[in-house]
Structures are given as C-alpha cells and as structure tokens.
C-alpha cells in the first residue's frame, strides 16, 4: 500500500508540469526517442539499468515526452526517468525553479507526512545540461524514523528546451544499495548543445 502511494506520488510529481510520456529505444547514440535532442547511455549489454533492476511496462502517448519506470527485483524500490520539451515561459525558468516544482508536488502529495531534506541539492555534471541532485525523506510528524527515502535529480538542457528528472524511492534500510544505479540514470544522460554553447559544454564533457 505504501509502495503504491509513493509510486502515485512520484508519477503525479513528474507529470505535474508535463504532458504524458512516450516510448524510447536503443539507437547507435544510446537510448533515444525519435526527434528528441537528448539520449541515455546504456549500461553493459545495452541495458537501461544494471542487474537487479527491471523495467516496468507503461503507457507512452505523447510525441515529446519520455517516461520510464524501473523496479528493483530483489529489494523494494522504484526509479523513474521523465523528460520533456520545455515551452514558452518555462524555457526561461532556471533549474532551481523547475526542480522546486517537482519537489513541491512531493510536498503536496505527501499529505500529513513530513517531506524533509536529507542532503541539500548540489550540482552534478551532466553532458549538455545544468543539473542537480539531492536526498529527501518522508516521515510521520511525530516519528523521527523516516518511512521512505527519496533521491531526486533534475537537469535542464543548456539549450533551455528540455527538462529531465529522475526519482528513486525506497525504504531507508534498502536505499543505499540502489542509489548508485539511480544516480547513473541522471549521469548517463546527454543533451544536444546549442552551437554557441558547444566549446564550454565540450570542456564540461571532458571532465566526466
């Protein structure tokens, strides 16, 4: 029941500011959806996620959105990757504002559970994007022990036209084992870089 609640919460947070998601497939450039200006590097054996994870089939309907959900096979925990095109005023919003939208949906969806920060958001290197990641938890108001721990990462392309977010939620006692795979989901992303940004982005890529 708790897992269903967290899953529903994450989907609602992810979909709050975007249309419904679409399928994407493995290409020579990595996993990519047709017409998208971003891709995801595969892990070994051309898989989306390492061993211990499996993809959950979903419904993908929109031409500009990708939404993929994974679950852990032997442990509890789910990860989601959502990415979509930014339009209009949203293209001018900075990463902090866009990430706050996702986190605010979490706060609203958490209801009577307190949604708190474990590790404040910090910048991470993602090719062709400005990105950040942080750790959060949900707990009852009168209980110090968290019920669920959450990893949330957000990336806005340097071209200001694509936004991606990765969520990973798991019971705290099993969280750490899945964290690196969830982090890699964000770090394996590549965004196309506008021509005037190319040299800077190239140097960022070299640091990876």
């Amino acid at each position: 029941m708790k897992k269903i609640f967290v899953a529903a919460l994450i989907v609602s947070a992810a979909c709050a500011s975007g249309p419904r998601p679409r399928e994407f497939d493995l290409t020579p450039d990595g996993f990519r959806t047709e017409g998208a200006d971003w891709s995801l590097d595969p892990v070994e054996s051309n898989k989306l996620m390492p061993d211990g994870w499996e993809r959950v089939p979903g419904t993908y309907e929109d031409a500009t959105v990708v939404g993929v959900r994974f679950k852990r096979i032997h442990l509890d925990g789910d990860a989601w990757l959502f990415a979509w095109k930014l339009h209009g005023d949203d293209q001018r919003k900075n990463l902090k504002a866009l990430s706050e939208r996702g986190l605010t949906e979490f706060r609203l969806g958490s209801g009577q559970l307190l949604f708190g920060t474990v590790e404040p958001a910090k910048a991470v290197l993602v090719d062709g994007a400005e990105a950040q990641e942080g750790l959060y938890e949900m707990r009852r108001r009168d209980d110090y022990t968290p019920i669920t721990r959450v990893y949330a990462a957000f990336a806005k392309s340097l071209g200001n036209d694509t936004f991606a977010q990765v969520f990973y939620a798991s019971p705290p006692g099993q969280f750490d084992e899945g964290l690196e795979a969830a982090r890699s989901l964000m770090r394996r992303l590549h965004f196309s870089v506008p021509a005037h940004e190319a040299p800077a982005a190239a140097s960022r890529g070299a640091q990876r």
Binding site: R92, A97, E100, R101, T104, L108, G111, L114, F115
Partner: protein, 203 residues
C-alpha cells in the same frame, strides 16, 4: 452624428480598462491611494520581473482583463515567484480597527476554507519567519511580515510569503503587497520587493 460620437465616446470611456499611469517619476493604478516611485531607469521593477496583468495600448498600460481586480501583478522570469498588489475598500467597522487587527483578520481569512463559486480553497497554515514590523511608508500606516505557508492538510511548508498591509490616513482602503515564492527561490527576489515597498508613498 455629434450625438452618436458623444455616445461612443462615453461608451469608450465607460468600457476603458483600468490604466497603470506612469508620470512624474512614479507609477499609480487609476484611482489608487498610493504611488510607486520609478527606478532610476524609469521601470517599475528590475528586469528579472515581468508585468503580468497590463499591456501597452496606444502608449498607455491597461489591464489585459477588465475583470482583473488586482492592482498590479508581476511574475519572475527565472523562477516561480509572483508579486501581487491588491486594494479593497474597507467597511465602516473595519475603518475603526487598528491595522494590526486587520492583519490578523486577513491571516484568519487566508486560513479558512473558501468556495468562490468555481474553486474550493482549503485554506493555508502559516508560520512566522520574520516577525511583523511597522514600515515607514510616507502618508500610510503599514505592517509587513514574512511567513512560510502550507495548504491545510499538508504537513510540509510549500511556499514563503512577504506580505505588506498598507492603509492611507483616510482609512477607506487597504492595500496588500504580497510576494509568494517556493522557499528555495524566495531570497534572490525579496530584495526587489522590499525595494518596491521603499518606493511606495500615499500622497
């Protein structure tokens, strides 16, 4: 023909949407009891803010939507902060109240559920971040406060607000200046809002 022209003229003036008047170094919504001095570059707010509810028509800033009851609304380019200025007439009994009582009444109203005929608002809960202070707005009495807010039934704070209540000496109206933002993006913009408050006056 002259009568038709006069009628059209009357109709036009009756239907004209409210203007944000810019002159003599300040901005003032039509009939407002306050004015806001312009910035050195002639603007009302710094460039990271966008005037949301007015558009320029024949060189005059007019409300985009004639049903809009707010005085001024700004949005932020880089984040989701919004700045709104509202004015409402005070009833006879309200004019006798101290401003701090009106402040408490407003907070109580915002805390209560409300059905406006189209939407249901479940009300919000507030926690003071910076205590209420009297602000020196020339010609007006004013109080401001910074609070964190969350909707009723939600445990975690979701937004931070700077609110200023302002009442001219005739006590007939009350104006609210309200800046609301997600907590993480509140700080970068609040100085601009305080800058606007410092440029307020009630002539």
């Amino acid at each position: 023909m002259l009568r038709l022209g006069a009628c059209l003229c009357l109709l036009a003036s009756a239907c004209a949407t409210r203007a944000l008047v810019h002159g003599q170094g300040a901005y003032r919504p039509d009939d407002a009891a306050y004015r806001i001095a312009q910035l050195p570059d002639g603007a009302l707010m710094p460039r990271s803010w966008r005037l949301a509810n007015y558009e320029s028509r024949d060189g005059v800033l007019r409300l985009k939507d004639r049903r809009d009851e707010s005085d001024i609304e700004f949005t932020r380019d880089g984040d989701d902060g919004t700045l709104s200025v509202f004015t409402r007439d005070l009833g006879r009994s309200e004019r006798k109240l101290e401003l701090r009582d009106l402040v408490n009444r407003t907070i109580a109203d915002l805390s209560s559920p409300l059905w406006d005929g189209r939407h249901f608002y479940r009300g919000s809960r507030f926690q003071e971040v910076r205590t209420a202070l009297k602000e020196p707005v020339p010609g007006c009495e004013a109080i401001d406060v910074v609070v964190d807010a969350h909707p009723t039934g939600i445990a975690t704070f979701t937004s931070r607000l700077y609110v200023l209540w302002m009442r001219p000496k005739d006590r007939e109206t009350m104006t609210l200046v309200m800046y609301e933002s997600p907590i993480q993006t509140f700080a970068p913009a609040v100085e601009d809002v305080i800058g606007l408050v410092e440029r307020l006056s009630c002539p």
